[in-house]
């Protein structure tokens, strides 16, 4: 008799019926209802003022519409027009150049000033600096640009007058192709860096002092502490500031519109300016919507790229 082992048949145990989710109590239901009610205005607002207009723009980009006549279906013709229009392409290039320099400068200045203000100084002085750096942000971009246009006027502006006092020839701040973009960036950064500055101040305050103290005990110097401790721990704030900064910079309108009206030539014409001009001056709402859709895609792509890169560079405590 052979000793054959009869494989044990593992009988499949009948699966126990999954436990039914506990019925929410009356209190839970009330909490959910309350949460829904609190969220409803925001959700309705987002749907009405963001989702619907975006969907509307996508639809409108497939039509020719001049406000006066009924819209006519155009398929992808508006996109063809947009890609064949050198002004639109130049405006995308200008906007990207603007974004790179404006955001980099804005973050650098904001971070440097936040570090400085977070250093040793009387509390009242710190408050003065915080308010002063944030103040331009609460002013209207259009009115600031009007004032700056006076200041940077080549012939009658105060900036050139001051430079003249020290023997420097008038600078064509707004009238030379190269200087105009730099001036627009300067004006924009001057107004906008206060937001990043406040974020950085908040972020710096959240870094535990013990870590810096421990690093000091280990002999780390000021710069090394900033590079190895402050910046990594501030990286989530840097991510938020750069995402918001890039989204805002890609939508820049008021400063170039008021300061240079996109000139000289197309040197400072941005994408949103082209959208405005196509729609409200030339009555080409279909083309304007097509440019808007492309800008939306660009913003989404840049933001997605930032979040992807953030996995490597952003450290959460």
């Amino acid at each position: 008799m052979t000793n054959t082992q009869i494989p044990a048949v593992r009988l499949k145990q009948p699966a126990a019926p999954p436990a039914a989710p506990p019925r929410p109590s009356a209190r839970d239901r009330g909490t959910r209802l309350l949460a829904t009610l609190f969220l409803a205005p925001t959700i309705v607002g987002i749907v009405v003022f963001t989702v619907v207009p975006i969907a509307g723009s996508v639809v409108l980009s497939l039509f020719h519409w001049n406000v006066i006549d009924d819209p006519s279906f155009a398929g992808a013709a508006n996109y063809g027009e947009v890609f064949g229009d050198s002004t639109v392409l130049v405006s995308f290039r200008n906007t990207l150049v603007f974004m790179v320099f404006a955001v980099a400068l804005q973050l650098l200045i904001a971070l440097a000033l936040a570090l400085a203000v977070n250093g040793r100084m009387p509390v009242w002085l710190r408050s003065v600096f915080r308010s002063a750096f944030f103040f331009p942000l609460v002013l209207s971009a259009a009115s600031i640009s009007v004032v700056m246009k006076y200041l940077f006027n080549q012939d009658f502006g105060m900036v050139n007058w001051l430079l003249g006092l020290v023997g420097i020839a008038p600078v064509p701040w707004l009238t030379s192709e190269n200087a105009a973009m730099a001036t627009v960036i300067l004006v924009y950064v001057w107004q906008q860096f206060g937001f990043s500055f406040l974020l950085f101040v908040g972020g710096l305050n959240n870094i535990p002092k013990e870590i810096h103290e421990a690093a000091s005990l280990d002999g780390a110097t000021g710069l090394r502490k900033h590079l190895n401790i402050t910046l990594p721990l501030l990286s989530p704030t840097l991510l938020v500031a750069s995402v918001v900064g890039i989204i805002n910079a890609l939508q820049v309108f008021e400063q170039p519109y008021v300061l240079t009206n996109g000139g000289p030539g197309d040197a400072t014409r941005t994408v949103v300016m082209v959208i405005y001009e196509s729609a409200f001056e030339q009555l080409r709402f279909g083309e304007a919507s097509a440019v808007g859709v492309l800008l939306f895609v660009l913003i989404m792509a840049v933001t997605a790229l930032q979040f992807r890169l953030s996995r490597r560079f952003v450290h959460y405590q």
Partner: protein, 469 residues
């Protein structure tokens, strides 16, 4: 895979949600498009007149409404003063109102928009003008035929002009005195003008620029093109209009008049256009004039009244502007634009256009007539913020307090130079203006930049003119 437990109750609930959403979507889709006019209380039965906000303050609106009420107590009037920085911005806002379904009955339209509104939105006034010819005879006798012709499109009249502004030369008398220069003669030439700028520059400091101009369709490069006997677009006259000229103007004043202006083929590369640009580029190079981006109307009054600018082109509107800014009547004066190949000058005019969508067209016509009356315009234009279209309103008394001494220049620009014409403003004016401003900026970077920039301007203008509005 998770085992879902969809109870019959839940299924029924979601089914009900879906049916409700479908019902809502179906109802919304089956409705006619809602417009602003559907908002309760929005349409109170008034005759709605849209005007350019900055030019019509509360006092002007009160003057118009109260005066009209006295004449037509049965017609309810509402003036909608639309705030806008310029005519282009104003038209954009009006078109947005039209798109929203809240179109006004009448719109105050300047030369820049006459043909756009006439072609796409306006109602010809011909039948009413013919019907009320006797009543209007006095009006036409008082208004230069060129202004009337500028409001015609393809043989029909679309507006009665109530104001205009020609580009004349304003001179700061203190700067003239400082330069030891005399007030220029009426027939001064481009060379006289250049010599005057040089004299002014030599006698003033480094913070002084003799000639200030604004890069825009009215009063920018265009007056120089006219003076050099050319234009941005070829100009011709539409046939027709004899019904009006024969009815209201004597033979000598209707000669050469047609059914309105036509601006068609771009001619930015025309030798005379290039010559005009080259001249302006040379003035900039010599430091005699501001660069195009440097000039704008906002700071012009300040720099002119303080003697940092000697000469600038402006219309009758600036007499009131300088006076309000505190400049004395003898602090400035005005002369015609200098002669080059011709002394043809440019102007822009404005009046009320009646929209096709209006359901109160008879009432609107009554307002148009009322707004063109002498007594209405006298009450409305009290501060010389414009040049009235009626010749009889330009009197010494009107300009005694504000100046200038040579106020006659304003209307004589039309009377003594009958070929003086409107700025080129075809229905595609918005894009034409944008192309002009953009390439003027690059053309005047240097004298070498003129020809290439004008070639690009020509190409862009051709594209703009090919497009339907």
């Amino acid at each position: 895979m998770t085992d879902s437990h969809l109870t019959r109750r839940t299924l029924l609930r979601y089914g009900a949600y879906g049916a409700g959403a479908a019902a809502l979507a179906g109802t919304a889709a089956s409705w006619d498009r809602l417009t602003g006019a559907d908002i309760p209380g929005r349409d109170d039965g008034s005759l709605v007149v849209a005007t350019l906000g900055p030019a019509y303050g509360p006092e002007a609106i009160r003057t118009l409404t109260e005066g009209f009420k006295q004449v037509h107590p049965d017609i309810k009037l509402r003036i909608n003063a639309v705030q806008a920085v310029d005519w282009s911005d104003f038209f954009a806002k009006i078109l947005t109102q039209i798109a929203a379904g809240t179109a006004p009955d009448l719109v105050y339209v300047a030369t820049e928009g006459v043909q756009l509104f006439a072609q796409r939105l306006g109602v010809p006034l011909d039948r009413w003008v013919k019907r009320d010819a006797e009543e209007l005879r006095e009006y036409f006798a008082d208004v230069h035929p060129s202004l009337v012709e500028s409001m015609m499109y393809e043989g029909s009249l679309y507006q009665l002009p109530v104001e205009f502004n020609a580009a004349d030369m304003y001179l700061n008398t203190q700067v003239l005195k400082r330069a030891g220069a005399d007030f220029p003669a009426a027939d001064w030439t481009r060379d006289d003008f250049t010599a005057l700028l040089r004299d002014m520059k030599q006698s003033s400091g480094s913070q002084f620029t003799p000639y200030f101009w604004t890069n825009r369709l009215w009063g920018g490069v265009v007056p120089w093109l006219f003076a050099n006997d050319t234009n941005l677009l070829t100009e011709s006259k539409a046939p027709g209009g004899t019904w009006l000229w024969d009815s209201f103007y004597p033979a000598d004043r209707r000669q050469g008049r047609g059914g309105g202006f036509r601006w068609t083929t771009p001619q930015a590369t025309d030798a005379r256009v290039e010559e005009a640009y080259d001249y302006l580029a040379s003035l900039i190079q010599e430091g005699l004039c501001t660069r195009p981006e440097g000039g704008n109307g906002q700071n012009l009054i300040g720099v002119f009244s303080t003697g940092r600018v000697g000469v600038t082109p402006a219309g009758g509107f600036w007499a009131g502007g300088l006076h309000l800014a505190g400049m004395k009547a003898d602090g400035f004066d005005v002369q015609y634009f200098p002669r080059w190949r011709s002394q043809r000058m440019q102007y822009g005019a404005a009046g009320y256009a009646l929209l096709r969508t209006s359901k109160k067209q008879e009432e609107a016509w009554e307002f148009i007539k009322y707004a063109a009356r002498r007594d209405t315009l006298t009450r409305l234009f009290t501060t010389n913020q414009t040049t009235p279209a009626r010749r009889s309103m330009l009197t010494a008394d009107r300009y005694r307090e504000s100046g200038p001494a040579h106020w006659q220049v304003f209307y004589d620009t039309l009377d003594k130079f009958p070929d003086t014409g409107p700025i080129p403003a075809p229905p595609q004016v918005a894009e034409v203006e944008q192309v002009l401003l953009k390439h003027t900026g690059t053309a005047l970077a240097s004298r070498r930049a003129v020809a290439p920039a004008l070639r690009r301007m020509q190409s862009d203008l051709e594209k703009a003119m090919e497009r339907d509005v």
